[in-house]
Symmetry: C2
Subunit: 214 residues, 2 copies
């Protein structure tokens, strides 16, 4: 399942974006789109889009563009949008709650199945259809879920990570500022809100924009 010929990582990161936009076009009843139109809508250079698509073969038609339905079907398979990947969420604070209320399943191939928190107040609640359990029950309830969203306080980050990994988790979306340590077969993506904000400010000051650069 390690993929046909490896797609560049930069391309892989854009695939969900393409998928979502194509999905919207499809809902609007559009059945044709060009790399130029896509480019304007999602702000990615049109040559980059054509290059990205070309890794999967010749999906378009010269002089015409791409057929929305065909492309969408293609991506649905490529992104495994038929099966839903179950996800767990640990830490039902504001950020965690935001995730629970976000309707992921719709138009997504992931579904948050359950959430955990240490606060007795929150245990037993159902937020956006998702039950909140006490964190003590983690090991009993995780089953074979392999993806976790980590939205706990930074002081708990490494501890919870270790427990998740022990439960068989191999992918973690880490929203804590901690740079957590994991075995080499576990993938961690960091999203650090404070750093994103600082980074934006730094770029504004030092890289003033004047074209449509990213």
């Amino acid at each position: 399942m390690t993929d046909q010929q490896k797609i560049p990582q930069a391309t892989a990161k854009r695939l969900p974006l393409y998928y979502r936009f194509l999905h919207n076009l499809h809902l609007q009843g559009k059945n044709r789109v060009s790399s130029k139109q896509l480019s304007e809508a999602i702000k990615v250079d049109s040559a980059t889009i054509r290059r990205d698509f070309s890794y999967f073969g010749a999906l378009g038609k010269k002089g015409y563009g791409y057929n929305v339905e065909y492309l969408l079907g293609f991506f649905r398979k490529t992104l495994d949008h038929d099966e839903n990947t179950p996800v767990t969420l640990v830490g039902v604070g504001n950020l965690g709650t935001a995730f629970l209320n976000y309707n992921f399943t719709k138009n997504n191939n992931t579904k948050i199945e359950m959430a955990f928190d240490a606060d007795k107040e929150k245990v037993g609640e159902v937020i956006g259809d998702i039950p909140v359990y006490h964190v003590d029950e983690l090991e009993d309830r995780m089953g074979s879920i392999s993806v976790a969203i980590l939205t706990v306080p930074v002081s708990e980050a490494q501890k919870m990570t270790d427990r998740l990994v022990a439960c068989g988790v191999t992918g973690i979306l880490n929203f804590t500022p901690a740079r957590i340590s994991v075995p080499s077969d576990v993938r961690v993506h960091h999203i650090d809100l404070a750093i994103e904000l600082q980074s934006l400010v730094y770029f504004m000051k030092h890289y003033p924009m004047d074209q449509d650069e990213e």
Copy 2:
């Protein structure tokens, strides 16, 4: 203010990370650190760290490493950590609230000064020291704030963006899935939670890890 000689963007994105880690070391009373130690802690190759630092000149000492206090002071200046950049937040849902509760000012050079929401229930509240105003007052209250965090529903994203830009905002941290349109001098950083999750899942399936790759 356009910066001495431009630092690579990849480097610039790591600067806040370096800063935070150095800050922690300093609090712990450490006064010396090597690129190897930094590397292990923040999971960035040590050669990359040395290269990053070298853009700012020779900050370390061979056979010794870097002096924490000196380096920290240097970054404080480089990252303008003395002045606080004022920020506004629009959309006080769960995600917005998470930001308001996040103590940004501490150890950061940004401060959320005010928040706006359309919901009368929320107006008048003070969350984490930050007052919430009605979105109708946006134009009156923004003053000279040039950075905004956008955490509104996707349907409001472009509308609010236009209003923010009209108020003089030139940097937006966009958490909505909308790819908003802005004049070419406005910088937008997108953080799309659904896409981050999908992307993680895609990478897990197609790029199984076995070294300490990113």
